[in-house]
Symmetry: C2
Subunit: 193 residues, 2 copies
Amino acid sequence: MGLTAKGRATRQRIIEGAAAYLRSDGPAGVTLDDIRAITGTSKGQIFHYFPDGKEELFLAVARHEAGRVLDDQQPHLGALTSWAAWDRWRDSVVARYRTQGRNCPLGALMSQVGSTPGAAEVISTLLNRWQFHVREGIEEMQEAGLVRPGVDPEKTAAAFIAGIQGGVQVLRSSGSSTHLEASLDTLLDYLKA
Amino acid sequence: MGLTAKGRATRQRIIEGAAAYLRSDGPAGVTLDDIRAITGTSKGQIFHYFPDGKEELFLAVARHEAGRVLDDQQPHLGALTSWAAWDRWRDSVVARYRTQGRNCPLGALMSQVGSTPGAAEVISTLLNRWQFHVREGIEEMQEAGLVRPGVDPEKTAAAFIAGIQGGVQVLRSSGSSTHLEASLDTLLDYLKA
DNA sequence: ACCACAGTGGACCGGGCGGTCCAGAAAGCC
DNA sequence: GGCTTTCTGGACCGCCCGGTCCACTGTGGT
């Protein structure tokens, strides 16, 4: 029922090993056997720690990766209180996805786990949090009088999220970050206008 | 070597049957057997018309679907010469993807065929054509003096493409079209400013 | 009428992979 | 030190699914 310290360590090793594997290359299909080999574990252990098998494991990895997405944008994302901060944030997003290149851990995960309710929940939680920070940033800029009042913070934040998502998607299939940058720059222009 | 009329008809039936199936529901995995059953054909025929098997067939279906994407936005997309036309275009995009809902034929296809060069080419061709039309529209509006000269047509068109892609992706996983609409509306605001 | 080749059906194969099972090795607990 | 519970290893199973093969049936050309 409960997990010992050793058990927790192993469980964590599996998750992080799988995450690292996903980040390294983008093999269309990741199998439990791959993960087993990479983490130096056995089938028995995988099903011991993730009784519901593949889906449960992948969801755990997805949650782990979802955390990284926002962490990688900190501290900029949490304090969008000046144009300089916005620019730094923009750069960190572009840099992050440019180094990630064609390998999108979350995307790979999602395309395998399919559209289960659990997967949708992980994605929507991430996107909500992300959008929340952007919206906060816009509101603060408005309060400081740096963004004209006509801008709808919620809607514009949603546009940012969509633009980033789409930009990353194009980056994944074409290898070029132009769309991601164009999207961010255009929306920043819109805010600054 | 050559195909008779009957042969061409069967080949087409396979492609269109598969496309219709993809459009109807979004079964994470589409198998050759599914397609065989739905199109009322046999394994022999599938491999007769698509010797390279699954990948060749899926790519053919993807090309077929990619054509539809732009067709569905016509005639609006081809003549973005007034604000009314832009608004109609916006509405047609939103309507199209709202009815499509969570089932993205192209997305499903791509997640299965993986990141082969062929798949990348289909996507980038589609996106290029799409972006071309948007850019043309912006340029025409600029020439007519309806959009301020400061706007970079290429970059803004790229932002539109990214925004739409991202909006559709959010729609696919959340079922809501708010992000797609927010993205289009914000960018339209940007143009009109 | 014949023949070559396109079209069709479906049995069959083999590998991959998620999942099961159980036996044995640690590790807590009294 | 014994007992229970957790942890670990890996053999094994069974299905799914892409792909092969071959025999049969049109069909069109001369």
